[in-house]
Symmetry: C2
Subunit: 314 residues, 2 copies
Amino acid sequence: MSDKILVFGHQKPDTDAIGSSYGFSYLSNHRPVGALNTEVVALGEPNEETQFVLDYFGVKMPRIVTSAKEEGVDTVILTDHNEFQQSISDIEDVTIFGVVDHHRVANFNTAAPLFMTVEPVGSASSIVYRKFLEAGVEIPKEIAGLLLSGLISDTLLLKSPTTHPTDFKVAEDLAKIAGVNLEEYGMAMLKAGTNLDSKSADELIDIDAKTFELNGSKVRIAQVNTVDINDVLGRLTDVKEAIKSYMTAGGFDDFVFMITDIVNSNSEIVEIGSHADKVEAAFHFSLEDDHAFLAGAVSRKKQVVPQLTEEFSK
Amino acid sequence: MSDKILVFGHQKPDTDAIGSSYGFSYLSNHRPVGALNTEVVALGEPNEETQFVLDYFGVKMPRIVTSAKEEGVDTVILTDHNEFQQSISDIEDVTIFGVVDHHRVANFNTAAPLFMTVEPVGSASSIVYRKFLEAGVEIPKEIAGLLLSGLISDTLLLKSPTTHPTDFKVAEDLAKIAGVNLEEYGMAMLKAGTNLDSKSADELIDIDAKTFELNGSKVRIAQVNTVDINDVLGRLTDVKEAIKSYMTAGGFDDFVFMITDIVNSNSEIVEIGSHADKVEAAFHFSLEDDHAFLAGAVSRKKQVVPQLTEEFSK
């Protein structure tokens, strides 16, 4: 085994997973005291948004690995995740040297003390930025760009309620170092991730979908980002067919499909299933042709799941 | 429920548990940005060493609580521990706002993102000290004294192999602020925790004892700190009787009793049981009258348990 440490974000990496791991690996190797020998790697292919970011800042996608041991490495650092099921396949067989994350802590444990920083902020990249400042290490322009992109991606350009009050200054600082206009660059980046035309209806409803058990009902809640809700609504007949097939195959009671307008920070909610009344009550709207507009909603985690959880429990 | 947050160290608090929680509560209430309304409490009575520290710096022992909900509080901050079985009785029913710790992470999970800082350093108090610096909050003299005492206690005055390279500077800085001579104060404090004369032999072998399963053998490993190993060896006949009764009652195969000289950083090892040969092999010494000298050993965690684990597995 070499003394090399692998640094990576979660499986199915998004821009914050790639940005935070890339930045933290660089910082770890360049600390004036206690520098490490790390390599950033990824646990999957970049999505279209992340590819845009890498191309924009001229950064090569980290190589993709599936096992630390196969790389001859027995020590790892995790960014943007901690739960073992989201991590590298042999996470339970290696030493976890450090964690930088902004999620809840669950299904995680170590045999020995480690470096672990978790903060309830908008992105793991925000924490990595602060660690650069604490260590007094200068941030290269392209790394500032990657960290900024991670924050923009996770907070939909600081519009999501998951944005922390400190994130606005972080974004401003990073945009300056990266040499980009925050609003212009951010919108271009988010739009790059919304190229839905090439996706089939089956793919659309599975880009970012999670299953929830709500008071005994099995509910699928999916989300897509777009710059024009009508582009997706225009395909509603196909989408509804895809949803119905998916529900039958998976035994779902309801399927909630959230079409989020990243320009204006609103969503259209499509509901198929046996609890349309509960969905209407949760969001105080009336469904027409199985869908309705939900002003100001961009976060599934904060603006949809809790409201449905409460209504289904009544 | 009030908006108050309780801050506390682990059950059976030691000096680092009290020092780190006291210091972190003060810091949390005095942050220039994001100040909280916290109260430091404790999960048990102070030991003699901790009582010496509190008296020395004129600090009142935090009040002792057993449940957060009974205090009308539903949010807590943990220092010097994270494992739920070492925490407050209703830890699974409250919100964990933050953690500051230097142990492995295990039996710990949260429902939401939190503030969590874990570092593999000599004491939780070392981390709290760094957080004062990061926040730019001035450290009152008595809090510097408590944090310094936590570090001295956990590292036996920076002699234990658990001491981190950064801890020496931390101790130097804190001693300056606290207005004490590190060596003189540290030795006086450690001695205050070694008043063994008042303890019965049964109490001696249970002051700090843990059970280990070593390759199918049930082994108890206990440790006492003293300024003169001969004071304890003078009571060896009584101690051996107490150990044998304890082993019979608990069905132990071996009892390893570590008498640690905190002045010279050595230990005498007493071994009673069926694997004396393995204990001798592990430490490369010969037991005489069931005991032998182990030069330089002060840490059960790093200098005794791993060596026995390896030898028993042969």
